[in-house]
Symmetry: C2
Subunit: 352 residues, 2 copies
């Protein structure tokens, strides 16, 4: 297996170009034998940044881009018009096979649209889902879909369950990952139409470890390794997690600073608390992969710092070394063969 | 205005019959001039409990019930079969006008089905939503719907916005309450089909104070007074709030007990922290009203204690004194008149 060629959007996110460039170079220096980088963006700016850094020069290529996609731009327009932007050019490199992966902290909409339109799907994949690794009390759960397909269908959710299981098993090294479907009660008859239609299909699948409906209340405790849902619900869960944690910590902080007594108390608990709260630090898991594409696309959080970009690059490497896409492709082929078999059997039963 | 007659499910919830009976009697003793009670359940048990209490005897009626609806029973079956249960009998009292309100901490499903089937809707109301008052950093938001109608339609959400606004204005005394629709982005083009179809309709309505989409991330901070959504999403939000808070507090507690140093720190911050966390105590707001029915039905949390039942009874009193149902009825009539007018105008424009 050769080196993985990772394209980096050097212009995306709040801390660009410093954070993506430095983070990617850090990862490269750690794993020189396995990684080569393609940095996309304003070449002059990137070159200036690189001048101060030590790294294997022949492992880094620059691709100059003269346009930039803004966060507020309507994604479909942006992708079709700004052909010289780092997002469009990065996606095209993955499409053509010149890059194996693309990491961007730019516009989520543009990354989602670009992934589907420019990179293209693995044959048999109906809709590529955005998957976020969420920290839980137990470790981590994969919330899939958390951003790409808002009005989803049962057949798509089935594929999310399969791709999510493969990702957790091979990229996150969780053996025989449990799969739950997000719902509003433990009983199967609860839930909306999508959930009620999907549950029996998930039960039938033998290649996943389905454990039934998972309630939102149990998500933070780590109720399942893979949590399957439509992107609207998935996004609500992800954002509610973030919002509630932020709000509680805000109230805590205010309380701890409210008197001399609490300030002394705060000093005594500070370091222990900080390390305990690391459990909830989503950045330790890198970015959110868009699964089911003919290459890997990773959406990093807009606020990502150097460290998160380094982790996202390492995440691409694991994905590549474990051949996650090869495994998704195999699973989709097997599934297509199974469907053909079923059709044949049915046709034999009821000859016309 | 006469006394409000409040029916209480004395058998519902984890702490029945003690908590519902004691809580209701507490409220009665506080507001003797305004409340009369009908306690439904095992008469012998209730009578035993009442024997130890002081209260105006003529303000309390007992209704014996020989059946009980279990939490796990399929609600539709339970409601149609167990005619001698406290839930069915309580609902019937509201339907017949013998009671103005019914409070139950029993099976949520049975309360929802019973409300719709046995109590019946106010004319013009399409679907009665379950509304939960959620504590926020700013005070409280009404999450409507949080349990009744999972696959909702735009027209229903419009009515949720109207009924929720009336409830917050009159039962919670928030002037000109802001209304947001739960979505996954501040931009209107984000969201699922339901949200995208509902937004323009909400914008058109002149009798509500619509402020646009609200992201889950901003809910805990108090982004809107009324948050309109389908019951699936609403329930996810409510449960994720609960689950995240529980999980964080769990990690905090473990940390504070982890060493002598942190234990001393914990002692110093304990009382301040406790009072700060009261912000997040949902029980201060009583139960969740099922709005749009021909009487008030309040679903109390299954774990409700004496205090929560007392608050739920007071909540019924405010609802009655402020004539919230009369205001909902007026709004529905005005809306129906407006629709008739529009149809007439259209017919005049295009005579056949």
């Amino acid at each position: 297996m050769g080196k993985i060629r990772i394209a980096i959007d050097a212009m995306g996110g709040d801390n660009a170009p410093e954070a993506p460039v430095r983070g990617a170079i850090d990862a490269l220096n750690d794993r020189k034998e396995s990684i080569s980088l393609i940095l996309l963006g304003d070449e002059q700016k990137i070159r200036k940044m690189l001048d101060g850094l030590t790294y294997p020069k022949d492992a880094v290529t620059l691709v100059n881009c003269t346009e930039e996609i803004e966060m507020a731009e309507p994604p479909v327009n942006a992708i079709s018009r700004k052909k010289d932007s780092s997002i469009v050019k990065g996606m095209r490199l993955v499409r053509s096979g010149e890059a194996d992966a693309f990491v961007s902290a730019g516009s989520t909409g543009a990354v989602l649209v670009g992934g589907q339109v420019l990179v293209g799907r693995i044959k048999g994949v109906e809709r590529p889902p955005l998957a976020a690794v969420m920290p839980t009390e137990k470790g981590a759960s994969l919330l899939i879909d958390c951003g790409a397909n808002v009005d989803a269908r049962p057949a798509w959710l089935l594929q999310f369950a399969e791709m999510g299981s493969i990702y957790m098993e091979h990229a996150m090294h969780i053996k025989n990952p449990t799969v739950g479907i997000l719902s509003i009660g433990a009983e199967e008859e609860k839930g909306n139409a999508l959930v009620k239609e999907t549950i029996p299909l998930l039960r039938e699948k033998e290649d996943i470890n389905f454990i039934g409906p998972v309630e939102a209340r149990d998500v933070p405790a780590g109720a399942a390794d893979v949590i399957v849902t439509d992107a609207f619900s998935g996004n609500l869960i992800m954002k509610m997690y973030e919002g509630t944690a932020t709000s509680i910590l805000h109230v805590f902080k205010k309380t701890l600073l409210s008197s001399l007594k609490t300030k002394i108390g705060a000093l005594l608990i500070k370091s222990s608390l900080k390390s305990a709260l690391k459990t909830y630090d989503a950045s330790q898991y890198g970015g959110a992969p868009l699964l089911g594409l003919r290459g890997l696309v990773v959406k990093a959080h807009g606020s990502s710092k150097e460290k998160e970009f380094r982790i996202a690059v390492e995440q691409c490497l694991t994905f590549y070394e474990e051949d996650v896409n090869g495994k998704i492709r195999e699973r989709m082929e097997a599934e297509a063969a199974r469907m053909r078999q079923m059709k044949k059997a049915k046709a034999a039963e009821h000859p016309e």
